[in-house]
């Protein structure tokens, strides 16, 4: 039997959480007299779990109890803020001093900083069981690489190009998948979104920096991002698939929301009212479908995103229809009653599916 691959940090944490839930439930079942393991079974399970917990703690410094979990949340926040601050510091440090060096030295420093920060990240990843310092180093490595390419453009007056987004995306994905970092996954996805919509705009003859002024350019990348985790399994990276789906949905709903109020941004050469009305209807239908799909597949982030946009589409319509003509107490009463109605519908939907919370898809 082949040896199972070592788990990722997320998988290890999921297993630890599962062990704690199992122990709690087993204790309840024993209290209620439903199930009681004999001494040998108890010892075997206990030993196995202790062995796993010790192994995961040594490998990843996982949270072994709820107190550790609370503390690690604080560490995650500190690590996130620190990573952003360090990345900004690298940018400003270079800007502060780069003018004092000749071009050869400037290029050398930029390339060396990319290599050094990437190497440091790889080195830290082997030694940092907590992962927080790796996250700091990875974001600095990404910032150094972005700075590297941006500054080469400035030093040599290179024409700005959307093609720079491709290596940035590649570096962000490499660091994200290597170090299990959702922040860098989001950065990579943003680069892909910007590149795909810029390319679509360019194919229509538009200068790439203005391609975002046609919100429909975001629809293909929305589909790509939403479908990607279905095509490529992310079992070792449990938090990644929801991020792809949320960004995919943002690329769908935000352009729809804009076009439902600004027909001039559309490629469609029809009457403005028709375009705006069409996108309003499409927004309602799409968000309702997304809620249904998310509930059916057990994707909580998909359901939540769908609900948020359904409510935004609904309330913006309410505002357009009734804000001017209704007394304010009546307007807010209608808004409140609508919220109650949505709650009732969602409750019904939940009863229909009986879907367990958590990751349902690949």
């Amino acid at each position: 039997m082949p040896e199972a691959p070592a788990p990722s940090r997320s998988e290890a944490q999921e297993r630890v959480d599962g062990i704690h839930s199992f122990r709690d439930e087993l204790a309840r079942l024993a209290d209620e007299g439903i199930l009681r393991l004999d001494a040998a079974q108890q010892a075997a399970v206990q030993n196995h779990h202790e062995h796993l917990l010790a192994e995961f703690a040594a490998l990843f410094d996982v949270d072994r109890d709820s107190r550790a979990k609370q503390l690690s949340l604080g560490m995650r926040v500190a690590s996130f803020l620190g990573a952003l601050a360090l990345a900004a510091s690298v940018f400003f440090l270079f800007y502060q001093f780069w003018g004092h060096f000749a071009e050869t030295a400037q290029v050398g420093i930029l390339i060396a900083s990319s290599f050094a920060s990437f190497g440091l990240t790889m080195w830290l990843q082997r030694r940092d069981a907590t992962g927080y310092f790796t996250k700091l180093a990875a974001l600095v490595a990404f910032a150094c690489f972005v700075l590297n390419i941006t500054m080469l453009g400035q030093i040599f007056n290179i024409t700005p190009s959307d093609k720079a987004l491709l290596p940035w995306a590649a570096m962000a994905f490499l660091l994200a998948y290597t170090c299990d970092l959702r922040l860098l996954l989001a950065a990579g996805i943003c680069c892909v979104i910007a590149y795909v919509q810029a390319r679509l705009g360019t194919w229509h003859g538009v200068y790439w920096l203005h391609a975002g002024e046609r919100p429909e350019n975001f629809f293909p990348v929305a589909a790509l991002l939403f479908v990607f985790p279905l095509l490529v399994a992310h079992r070792r990276f449990p938090g990644f698939a929801p991020i792809y789906r949320v960004f995919g949905l943002l690329c769908l709903f935000l352009p729809m929301l804009i076009l439902s109020h600004w027909a001039s941004g559309s490629y469609i050469d029809l009457d403005a009212d028709l375009i705006e009305g069409g996108y309003q209807v499409a927004g309602f239908v799409a968000s309702a479908l997304v809620i249904w799909l998310g509930a059916r597949r057990g994707w909580p982030e998909t359901v939540n995103t769908g609900i948020v946009f359904f409510v935004i589409f609904l309330y913006t319509k309410y505002y357009q229809w009734w804000w001017e003509i209704m007394p304010k107490y009546l307007f807010f009463l209608v808004v409140g009653l609508t919220a109650v109605l949505i709650l009732l519908i969602l409750k019904r939907l939940r009863q229909t599916f009986h879907a367990p919370a958590g990751e349902g898809g690949p």
Binding site: G99, S114, R126, F145, R236
Partner: protein, 289 residues
């Protein structure tokens, strides 16, 4: 999804950094490796120093602002309709816009409001002329305006309004003669080779990438006409190499409060990718006061 081994990840990361830098620097080499596409001697009028208060803050790099002008459609009272860093040139009409790839509705071009306002900017190649007829016309207009207002002031001695207008027109003439950029956007196209055949003098005509945004121009008689707005040109700035920074390091910019401005001449080359670079900056003896 399988994870890569540490060695493979390291190799891919290093390869990515090397490849990306090689492509960027290879492009720079290729741009500069043949006879320059354009080679102009510009002055502080066309390559403006940023103000020292902005220059010395958090960024130690130095770049000169490329000041271009467009002879616009609507002549102002003093400036003669010359717009700095963008505008609607006379020559950018419906036919030229169509040649640049903008779908211009010919049936509506001279009648109803055209639909081109919904279109977005496209990248084109702009032709800029240094101290050519366009600048001569601007200078002539400024002189004519100064002469007209001086005559009006002389005919209305003691009238403050006429005196102020005459002074303003005179100041504008002085700016046109000494300070304003002489670099005018005079044409645009999609093929650099064809444009160079049309404008063969490489020391007078500068070719750079820029953008044109479609706009609707009102002719004043209620009719609308498709036109274009020249906006972004290149990076808008030209980086000053470290070796050339010396004379510019702490020099004041033109128009900076409380000082004159450094006069200099700068050799600007443009390569085959239409990316510019500076090869020389020479301070001139006389500062602007």
């Amino acid at each position: 999804m399988k994870t890569w081994s540490r060695g493979r990840t390291l190799g891919v990361g290093i390869g990515l950094i090397v490849l990306t830098n090689a492509i960027a620097l290879g492009g720079v080499w290729w741009n500069r490796s043949s006879t320059p596409e354009s080679a102009l001697t510009l002055s502080e009028r066309e390559l403006g120093l940023p103000w020292r208060s902005l220059r010395l803050m958090e960024n130690s790099g130095l770049a000169l602002n490329l000041n271009l002008r467009v002879a616009g459609r609507q002549a102002g009272e003093f400036a003669g309709g010359q717009m700095v860093n963008g505008g609607m040139p006379e020559w950018l009409d419906a036919a030229k816009m169509a040649a640049l790839g903008f779908p211009v509705d010919a049936a509506r071009a001279d009648g109803e409001r055209p639909q081109n306002a919904r279109q977005l900017p496209r990248e084109v190649i702009l032709v800029m002329e240094l101290a050519g007829p366009a600048w001569q016309r601007a200078l002539e207009k400024a002189r004519e305006s100064a002469g007209r207002h001086a005559a009006a002031a002389a005919a209305n001695v003691g009238n403050k309004q006429f005196a102020d207008r005459a002074k303003q027109a005179n100041d504008e003439l002085a700016r046109e003669e000494n300070l304003n950029s002489r670099l005018f956007v005079i044409d645009a196209g999609l093929d650099a080779r064809l444009l160079r055949e049309k404008y063969p003098d490489r020391s007078r005509f500068l070719l750079l990438r820029g953008t044109v945004r479609p706009v609707t121009h009102s002719r004043g008689d209620g009719a609308h006409q498709a036109s274009g707005y020249v906006s972004r040109v290149g990076n808008g700035q030209v980086h000053v190499p470290h070796a050339l920074r010396g004379p510019l390091e702490s020099a004041p910019a033109i128009g900076e409060p409380g000082s004159g401005g450094l006069r200099f001449s700068a050799e600007l080359l443009v390569g085959r990718r239409l990316e510019p670079w500076l090869i020389g900056v020479t301070p001139l003896a006389k500062d602007i006061n």
